[in-house]
C-alpha cells in the first residue's frame, strides 16, 4: 500500500488555490489589494482581527438539558416545528442586537439573543472565550468574531469544530458583502447599530450557504471540484482568457465555473485564491438567478484574500447556449467596459476553438458511478489532492441516491477522525452492517472510500490501490494541473 502513496493523482507543483486544512479558523492573509495597486507598498497585517483565533479552548459542559427563557418568547418555545429543526444558526452583534436567524423572525426572540450575548461576555470577563456547551445531544457552539457573535444550536452529528467552521463561513459571507473593515468601523461608531439595514438580501445568501455547505463535501474538504475536461480544452480556455485580457491592468482573478464545478482559474502572478473564498463565489453564483439575465458589476470582498477591501467583479454567463459563469475580478472600480469587451473577446475565442461545445458536452454527460468504472465493491469516494486543493467524486450510486445525507455524515465523521486536533488518525477502516469506510490521510492526498459492508481489509486496500491508479490515469481530465497567470 505504501507504494500507492507515491501515486498522488492530481498533484501539481503550482496551484491557483491556497492549499488548506479546512479546520483552521482564520488564516493570516497573504494578499493585499493595496499591494496589487501599488506593488512597492508592503501591507501591514491585521492582527486585531486575528487575535481571537488564538483563544484558549474552553468547553463548558452543562448538565441541564433545558434552558429557561423569559415568557415573552413563548410562541417560539411552543412552536414544535421551530423546536424540531436540527440546526439553528444565529448571528447577533456584540451588543446583543439580532442580525440573523436561520429559522423564524429574529425579532421575535430577542431575549434568546440576550442570553447568548450574556454567556459570551460573562466568559469574556475572565479573558477567556466560550467555545461550546453540551446539553444531552444538543451542542451550543459559539464563535466570537469581532464585532459579531455567531451561535449554532445543533442536534446533528457534526462535531464542534465542524460547526465552528460553518459559523466562520457565515461570518465570511457577511464580511464579503461589506468588508471586515467597514463592519468593524460601523460598530466603532455606533455600538447599537442594526446591521440588518445593510444586509437586506444577504439573508438569502446565508440561507443558501448553510444548505449548500450541508450538501456539498467541498466544504468539509476545503477543496473545489473541477468540471472534467481534456487538458487541451482546459488549456485552450485558460489561454483564451489570458489572451483576451492581456492589455487589462490590475485584473486579479478570472474564474470560469459551471454547475458548481471549476472550469478554469486564471490569476495574477503571485496571488492565489483560498478555497473558502471560492466557495463564497460559488454560493453567490448559485443563489443569484438574476445573474443570468444581464452583465453585472458588483463589489465583492474575498475575506481570506483581503478582508479590508473590495474587489470589483464583472459577472456574466458566457452565452445563451453555454451556461458557464465567468467572473473577472479586478481592483479597478471603473473597469466595467474594458472587462465587458474582454468578455466578448473571450466568448469569440472560445466559440472559434469549439470550447463552448466541449463545456456543454461535459455538463450534459452524466458522471460515471463507481460501478460504471469497474469498481463493483466501491460505492462512492472522495479524493482530495492536497497540493492543489481540488477534489473529485463520482456520481452518487445506490444506495445513497436515496439517502445522500447518510453518505455526507459518514464523510464528515471520517474527516473529523483524520483531523481531530487531539488524536488525528492516518488510516481508518470501519465496518458497520450498512457500509464499510476506509479513510486515508497521506502527505499528498486524502481519500475517503465507502465500500460494501462485507468488504474485508485486504480487499478494501486492494480496491483503493486500484482506484488511485485509475484516478492517476485521468488526472489531467479531472483536475486543473496548471495555474495560469495573466
Amino acid at each position: 500500500m505504501a507504494s500507492n502513496c507515491e501515486v498522488e493523482p492530481g498533484a501539481a507543483p503550482e496551484s491557483a488555490l491556497v492549499t488548506t486544512d479546512s479546520y483552521e479558523n482564520f488564516q493570516q492573509m497573504s494578499s493585499s489589494l493595496e499591494e496589487i495597486k501599488n506593488s512597492n507598498f508592503t501591507s501591514s497585517t491585521q492582527d486585531e482581527f486575528l487575535d481571537n483565533c488564538n483563544n484558549i479552548d474552553s468547553d463548558l459542559h452543562v448538565n441541564c438539558s433545558t434552558v429557561s427563557v423569559s415568557s415573552q418568547d413563548e410562541d417560539y418555545i411552543r412552536d414544535e416545528e421551530w423546536l424540531g429543526k436540527s440546526k439553528h444558526i444565529f448571528v447577533l452583534s456584540s451588543a446583543g442586537k439580532p442580525i440573523y436567524s436561520r429559522y423564524g423572525n429574529e425579532d421575535r426572540f430577542a431575549s434568546y439573543f440576550g442570553i447568548m450575548q450574556a454567556l459570551v461576555s460573562f466568559v469574556q470577563a475572565d479573558d477567556d472565550s466560550i467555545r461550546s456547551m453540551h446539553a444531552g445531544d444538543t451542542k451550543f457552539v459559539f464563535l466570537f468574531r469581532e464585532p459579531l457573535i455567531l451561535v449554532a444550536v445543533s442536534k446533528t452529528e457534526e462535531c464542534t469544530s465542524q460547526l465552528t467552521a460553518q459559523l466562520n463561513y457565515v461570518f465570511n459571507q457577511i464580511a464579503s458583502m461589506l468588508t471586515l473593515s467597514r463592519l468593524v468601523k460601523i460598530y466603532e461608531q455606533r455600538r447599537n447599530y442594526d446591521l440588518r439595514r445593510l444586509l437586506t438580501g444577504v439573508e438569502r445568501l446565508i440561507d443558501h450557504l448553510l444548505d449548500f455547505s450541508e450538501q456539498e463535501p467541498a466544504f468539509t474538504l476545503g477543496a473545489v471540484q473541477c468540471l472534467p475536461l481534456t487538458s487541451s480544452v482546459r488549456d485552450a480556455i485558460s489561454s483564451a482568457i489570458v489572451q483576451s485580457c492581456s492589455k487589462i491592468k490590475n485584473l486579479v482573478f478570472g474564474i470560469l465555473l459551471a454547475n458548481n464545478q471549476l472550469i478554469t482559474l486564471v490569476r495574477m502572478k503571485k496571488y492565489c485564491i483560498h478555497p473558502h473564498d471560492l466557495h463564497l463565489i460559488f454560493n453567490l453564483v448559485q443563489a443569484s438567478e438574476s445573474l443570468k439575465t444581464a452583465e453585472i458589476w458588483t463589489p465583492l470582498c474575498l475575506p481570506r484574500f483581503d478582508a479590508s477591501g473590495f474587489l470589483y467583479g464583472h459577472v456574466s454567463y458566457l452565452a445563451e447556449d453555454c451556461q458557464a459563469c465567468l467572473l473577472l475580478l479586478t481592483v479597478e472600480r471603473d473597469a466595467f467596459f474594458s472587462l465587458s469587451e474582454a468578455k466578448q473577446r473571450i466568448v469569440e475565442r472560445l466559440r472559434r476553438g469549439n470550447c463552448l461545445e466541449a463545456i456543454n458536452e461535459s455538463l450534459n454527460t452524466k458522471e460515471e458511478t463507481c460501478v460504471d468504472i469497474g469498481f463493483p465493491e466501491l460505492r462512492h469516494y472522495l479524493y482530495k489532492c492536497k497540493s492543489t486543493a481540488q477534489f473529485h467524486q463520482p456520481s452518487m450510486g445506490a444506495p445513497y441516491t436515496i439517502n445522500c445525507k447518510r453518505l455526507l455524515d459518514l464523510y464528515r465523521r471520517a474527516h473529523y477522525r483524520l483531523h481531530c486536533p487531539t488524536r488525528p488518525l492516518k488510516l481508518l477502516f470501519e465496518r458497520t452492517s450498512e457500509d464499510a469506510l476506509l479513510a486515508w490521510d497521506t502527505r499528498g492526498f486524502e481519500l475517503y472510500a465507502i465500500l460494501e459492508p462485507l468488504t474485508d481489509t485486504g480487499n478494501a486496500i486492494a480496491t483503493v490501490g486500484r482506484l488511485l491508479n485509475w484516478i492517476k490515469k485521468r488526472e489531467d481530465k479531472l483536475f486543473q494541473l496548471n495555474a495560469p497567470t495573466f
Binding site: L33, M177, G309
Partner: protein, 221 residues
Amino acid sequence: MENVLSGKVVILGDQGVGKTSLILRYLEKEFDRHISPTIGASYFSCSVAIKNVIVKLQVWDTAGQERFKAMTPMFYRNANIAFLAFDITRPETFQNIQNWVTELNGNIHTHVIMIIIGNKSDLSNDRKVPREEAIRYSNGIGATYYECSSLKNLGVDRIFESAAIKLLKHLDPYFNNYIDCENSIDAPSCSLSATDVGNVVVLGRSKDNIAHGTTVSNKCC
C-alpha cells in the same frame, strides 16, 4: 439613412420597487415574479427608434439595497437620463425619491433628464401614493411623471420612448455636428466616447475607495 445617437440611463430607487422587472419587461417582454435582488448593478443596452433616428440607450439598473449605495455615483456619473422608480403601494419608497434627487443634483453638474416612475399601477386597490401628489412633486422638480405596470405591461414602452425623445430634444443643438461625425469613418468610437464611463478614472481617489469601501457611506453609518 438613419442617424444613431446614444445616451446613458441610470435606474434608481429603493429595493423591491421593480427596477429590474421594468427593464426586463421592456427588453425581454417578460415578467418573472421570483426574480432575485440585483447584485451591484446590471448593464443592458437597447435601441429605441424615433422616426429616422435610432437612440441607443446604455442602461444601468442599480441595486436598491443600502449597502450598494456607496457605488451608485459611478453609475449616474455622466448619465443623460435618470429613471427614479417607486412603488405606488409603499409611500416610503416615494419619500425616498427626494433623497435620490438630492443625491443626483449634488453629484451631477450636467443636465439630467429626470423621469419619475410610479410602478405597480396594477395594484391600484392598495395605492398609497396619490397620482396627483406624484405629478405635483415631479412638476416641482422639473421631472416627468409616468405610471406603469411591469406585471401587466402597461405603460412601460411609453417610458422608454419618451426618454428617447427627451434625449433627442436635449441634444438638438449638437445634433448637426453629430450627424457629420456619424457619417465619418471614426463614427463608432466617437459616439462611444461621448458616453463611455469607463474612461474616467481618478486614480488617487479611487484607490482609497477600493481599499476601504467608503465613498459616500458617511450617511448610512
